[in-house]
Symmetry: C2
Subunit: 435 residues, 2 copies
């Protein structure tokens, strides 16, 4: 689909961290690059929970791919989706047209996984896309609006409650932000109910939060969350989810918890392109559907196909697969570009090696946990670090500036300006004419 | 629905400029105020076209009503919609419950009007809500994405074209912003097409743009738009709108124009509450369905019902109805509060009188037109004035700050950061799994 030249054609699928960094790193390499994404923007997912809780607008954490790659004259952006891969003819079928490649870089990431419970997504949305975040925001805000109206006409004594399922980094950050939103920002907003009394429950199946972190930081995270008013329930499995209900079990007994809003951050699976690739090439997948890659991130038997980021299972370094975090995807994207360049130059490339520069998770306004291997920090210092790392990592200088201003202002005022309920009500409440 | 006290109950319907300013002006008056809106935020409509063209995010120009009115302890916010009015029992029926009043202030504004052409809204959306603005943004950006893909596989020679119907202030501002977006911001974004070649056509049925302004400013507006690359077609009526087509007529011949996106800013009608009020009280309506009010903005025979803002037809001052602009609504809101206070104090109130402080319309980055009656200015000075008046008028200091920063940045870089295509595609293109 690229302009006809004799240069090698690199086709990148996915404009997340992996795909974007591959493309950017190829900007001065004499290859024709095409990057395909079904969205027209790169989304800075680590801050998506801030959009879900009204702290930021979608525009603050997303950058149009065309804008980001405008200056890279050898890169074409196509806003479309991949429907098939033909490894024999080195060609990818899109909804509109097709695309030939000499090297294919698959970076289409992961999506939410409800372990086959098809009704759960409607009752407990996840946090993966901009639309997810706006839906979570809508459900939280709409919950209090509805309760305020109920308390006027009925005498009610039930507890206000919001449940977050999954104690990984997303669940920890989301529940912390919900606690701040309800217990601080909204505490004086209503006349009949008080959101400050909302019980925020975080459910985790294992025996500690953020299990991928050292256990000392898991404990710190839990303490910080409890201080913010989040009730953490460890060793607790979700057996069922219904409309405003979760059924919990700890192996001995079950418990039914009612909640005004339920959110799911407890499962991911690979994008369908993993399974498609496996069908077409026989590539091995792991139990999440991620593609098991070679030491140089290529597919066994297909050196012209690379898989990077969350979609890849790279276990050569640690025995276990590398975690699905932005730094892994970024380093793999840069590696992919290096491999492509070295091949053109006829050079060898050493196997991929992930350099863990540390993990960070934030818990509310003043606390975070950071793990640098040799150094583990938590609390205010980790939080300051988190703020700067995240602003620094945002794509686009205007986003950096906007988020910095927004955070400074929110920090001083405890406001969350973007508390707008927008879009259609997916639960089917009537909308009616404009008031 | 308010807490039971012996204080007079004021019920305000609508959280736009009229309703919000009524409520704010009643904050120190000993009355119980309830404000009802079906949205949970006040929207600064004069800047909605900036959201439509990717210059601002919805959160920048909207403020949660509860946040704005948080400190006003005598004001209750209800997020609901009015379904009926019972003037005999002084009561309003909501979707959830009902609300008694001693004074009712109706400020539910206007909505789009397609003059009975039921298919037109699908082909040519309007600009009235946040969702409208995001849909316009989506259609503009999606148009170029689709054209880029088309040019790869087909040889095409057709003109890129976007049509805006209606040469009032909204049409002028929207077409100017679309010209900037396509001719400046996006000009280097694509490899196969060039958005800078897009023909932007503004259709106006009368013989000049912004007919409510003095004709010297209409001419200036037209000149500024043409300079930005907008083709203005005066004395031209829209006879029909289909998928990507408008049929135009000038009284003698008709012409069919194809366009990648069509937007409608050519008609408004009163909110359905006008007709409802008329059915229940016999109130007189004008041809747009607006309620004809007395000199003190009350309803003839119903001194306890006031109608303000766009929903009201107030013709006592100029002979013709006052225009549907923010300053009229704001002054009427303040007047309504004054009337309510004076009644409590047993004082008389002089008839409402609109003080026209001037009208402003912006045309792109560096030009605007301003009409102060005695003084008419246009060009750069009017633009600077427009910028400051609009930032000053935004509700909420954080919005002021955010918009100021955003504009300063956009002005320096000609970027429009919020160029995200979000939400469902209402034209029915498939979405598919996440890439």
């Amino acid at each position: 689909m690229a302009t006809v030249t004799d240069r090698s054609r690199v086709l990148i699928v996915g404009g997340g961290f992996g795909g974007l960094y591959t493309a950017k790193s190829l900007r001065r390499i004499p290859v024709d690059v095409t990057i395909i994404d079904r969205r027209n923007f790169h989304l800075f997912q680590p801050l998506l929970y801030q959009v879900a809780t009204g702290g930021l607008s979608p525009g603050d954490i997303a950058s149009p791919l065309r804008g980001v790659l405008k200056a890279c004259k050898n890169i074409h952006v196509i806003n479309d989706e991949v429907v098939d891969i033909d490894p024999t003819n080195q060609c990818v079928q899109l909804n509109h047209g097709k695309c030939n490649y000499d090297t294919l870089v698959l970076a289409s990431g992961v999506e939410n996984h409800y372990f086959g419970n098809e009704e759960w997504p409607a009752y407990a949305p996840s946090l993966k896309t901009v639309e997810d975040a706006l839906e979570i925001r809508r459900r939280i805000l709409q919950y209090f609006e509805t309760e305020e109206k109920r308390y006027v006409t009925e005498v009610r004594t039930h507890t206000l409650r919001i449940v977050v399922v999954g104690g990984g980094a997303t669940g920890v950050e989301l529940s912390g932000a919900i606690a701040e939103l309800t217990h601080e920002t909204m505490k004086k907003d209503f006349r009949h109910i008080n959101p400050a009394n909302t019980e925020i429950v975080l459910i985790e199946a294992s025996d500690r939060l953020i299990p991928s972190y050292p256990s000392s930081l898991s404990l710190k995270a839990r303490q910080s969350l409890e201080k913010l008013g989040v009730t953490t329930r460890l060793n607790t499995k979700v057996l069922d989810i219904g409309k405003n209900t979760v059924v919990l079990g700890n192996g001995r007994e079950t418990e039914r918890l009612s909640a005004g809003a339920i959110f799911w951050t407890a499962g991911i699976k690979a994008s369908f392109l993993g399974a498609l690739l496996s069908t077409r090439t026989g590539a091995a997948l792991d139990d999440l559907g991620r593609v098991i890659v070679e030491k140089d991130l290529t597919l066994a038997g297909h050196p012209e196909i690379m898989v990077i980021g969350d979609l890849a299972n790279f276990s050569h370094q640690a025995g276990a697969p590398l975690p699905g975090v932005a730094p892994v995807a970024i380093q793999q994207g840069k590696y992919a570009a290096k491999l492509i360049r070295n091949r053109i130059l006829g050079r060898k490339t050493l196997p991929f090696r992930y350099r863990n520069k540390g993990n960070l998770a934030v818990i509310g306004r003043n606390a975070a946990v950071a793990d640098f291997g040799y150094l583990k920090i938590s609390g205010y210092v980790a939080w300051i670090l988190w703020v700067f790392v995240h602003i620094w990592s945002l794509i686009g200088f205007d986003n950096k500036l906007s988020v910095l201003m927004q955070w400074a202002w929110d920090y001083l005022t405890r406001k969350r300006g973007a508390r707008l309920i927008v879009g259609d009500d997916k639960r089917g409440d009537p909308k009616g004419p404009l008031l």
